[in-house]
């Protein structure tokens, strides 16, 4: 960076100025995000840059066509608020304490992770049974047209698409697999079951912990999520117990987290099975079992 005038003026902090803007825009690559998230808690300048960027972003939002959500959304929200408890406040009415908390470790199961207030939304895990966030590369190719439409509509210019498809998919696969590994290898005891289809091919691995179950799929058919859903079942002598649902978005290795965090004992079955069901929820008993297997460890 020594030849960069910004670097001379700002020391090596110019790098973080850039990352702060990218972070506020939620557009950083995972490695940059990891770097910045370690830096931010100790940097008042970056916290302010994030705030300033957020203010500009809010102004940009004002340039969108006005739109009104449906009337039902207000009712849905009210009902959801009614049945949702607040996380305990660390120190009610004393905001000064909030600055002492750390926001940046991704919470896994704790309801109220310690955090540092930054003036920016903290990361929250998607609810159980939703699909894990894919790596950014995954959406690049199909999005080209969307991007084109966005920019054309904004009438803000044009660009050249210069993209190597082969390189993209290779990077994509590598990143996805490393993410899968990272999430499966979180600390703690886990029960493992390998599930095979009727032909004996292993198509899924169930990683069960007391309060959550992860399914690594590799070769299960992609389902049409408007019409069907995969269901994970805990198998015991008295019958099958539905644990949760997931979708398969790609035939390559993928990871889904299923099961609700307020259940427990999800790791207590001698065997697990996966069925493909019509509709979007688990029936009382599995109809079309596509893979099953005993606990191996």
């Amino acid at each position: 960076m020594s030849g960069d005038p910004r670097a001379r003026r700002g020391g090596d902090h110019a790098l973080f100025d850039e990352l702060a803007v990218g972070w506020a825009l939620h557009s950083l690559e995972p490695e940059d995000e990891a770097l910045f998230v370690r830096h931010l808690p100790d940097c008042a300048r970056c916290a302010r840059t994030v705030s300033e960027t957020s203010e500009v972003m809010a102004a940009l939002a004002a340039d969108l066509p006005a739109a009104e959500p449906s009337a039902q959304l207000g009712d849905r929200l009210r009902a959801a608020v009614e049945r949702t408890e607040q996380v305990p406040l660390p120190a009610p009415d004393d905001t000064s304490d909030l600055a002492e908390l750390d926001d940046f470790d991704e919470p896994v199961d704790e309801p109220a992770p310690p955090r540092r207030a930054t003036g920016f939304p903290h990361y929250e895990h998607v609810s159980a049974a939703s699909v894990p966030t894919p790596t950014p590369w995954r959406r690049l190719l199909p999005s080209l047209l969307v991007a084109a439409a966005v920019v054309v509509i904004l009438a803000l210019g044009t660009w050249n698409v210069m993209l190597s498809e082969a390189r993209t998919s290779a990077e994509s696969a590598a990143q996805q697999q490393s993410e899968v590994l990272h999430r499966v290898l979180q600390p703690g005891q886990a029960t493992i079951a390998r599930l095979a289809d009727e032909a004996g091919h292993e198509v899924a691995t169930v990683v069960a912990r007391p309060e959550s179950v992860q399914v690594v799929t590799d070769g299960l058919a992609v389902n049409d999520r408007t019409q069907s859903v995969y269901v994970v079942w805990g198998m015991r002598d008295s019958g099958a117990v539905p644990i949760g649902t997931f979708d398969v978005d790609r035939a390559q290795m993928d990871l889904s987290t299923v099961g609700s965090s307020d259940e427990s004992g999800l790791d207590g079955y001698p065997a697990y099975a996966i069925s493909l069901e019509r509709g979007r929820s688990a029936p009382p008993v599995p109809s079309d079992v596509v893979a099953r297997g005993q606990v191996t460890s």
Binding site: G10, G11, H13, F16, V21, G22, A24, L25, H26, S27, E29, A44, R45, A47, R48, T49, S51, T53, S54, E55, V56, M57, A58, A59, L60, A61, D63, L64, P65, A66, A67, E68, P69, R78, V81, E82, V87, L89, P90, T95, L98, A99, A117, F120, P121, V131, R138, R139, L140, P142, V146, A147, V150, V151, L154, G157, W159, L163, D224, D249
Partner: protein, 217 residues
């Protein structure tokens, strides 16, 4: 509508927002209703632009307002206006959702996606509509003043939800260049938008030259 209010109303609105947050912290469920009334339109406009899907956009809104209810202490008013924090959360969650949904979108007809994005939106009465138009004009002209490459990088990231590497691939620029363009573009927008975008500089990287000795670090 703190994000589209005239500067002289900003502090009053920030105060009103702070009151709502305090009520939510005190466990007042009705305050979420009030918050929703206040921000549903700009929040929805942003989410549906990013997602190009009303149903998904509503899911994002529910998620956002519910998480403010669950954990109101996530907002620290020392760090900026509540409006900008809330809309940043809408942006963040909508971008997460568009990344999750991409494989689904892949199956849709591409022409369909274009149509959704191009579809005219229902015009609604908006509080302080005249001011909203002024802001909208100012934002448009501020964007217009940016060099095309900076504008492209910021609009792809903000309205399109693309990551920096995706923007780099889309625009044929090196990743480092994209990062620099985003910072430079934000600086310029901050300068042009001034009061619209939060008034005086808070002392971050957008407000002026980088610190001489990096002592802010």
């Amino acid at each position: 509508m703190g994000a589209v209010s005239p500067p002289d109303r900003r502090s009053a609105e920030d105060l009103a927002d702070a009151t709502l947050v305090r009520r939510i912290r005190a466990g007042d469920r009705g305050a979420v209703d009030d918050l929703y009334e206040r921000f549903r339109r700009p929040a929805f406009a942003l989410a549906r632009r990013i997602l190009a899907d009303d149903v998904l956009a509503e899911d994002v809104l529910q998620d956002v307002f519910l998480s403010v209810w669950r954990d109101p202490s996530a907002y620290d008013r020392a760090r900026g206006s509540f409006a900008s924090w809330l809309l940043a959360m809408v942006h963040h969650k909508a971008v997460d959702a568009v990344r999750r949904e991409e494989s689904q979108r892949r199956r849709q007809s591409r022409a369909g996606e274009e149509l959704v994005l191009a579809a005219p939106v229902e015009a609604q009465d908006v509080e302080a509509e005249a001011w909203a138009r002024v802001v909208s004009e100012r934002v448009r002209s501020a964007l217009g003043l940016l060099p095309a490459a900076q504008r492209e990088a910021l609009t792809l990231a903000y309205y399109g939800g693309y990551t920096q590497r995706e923007v780099a691939a889309l625009t044929g620029a090196p990743l480092g260049t994209v990062k620099t363009r985003m910072l430079a573009g934000m600086r310029r927008l901050k300068e042009e938008l001034g009061g619209v975008a939060g008034g005086a500089s808070l002392g971050g990287a957008l407000g002026g030259p980088a610190p001489v000795d990096g002592s802010n670090r």
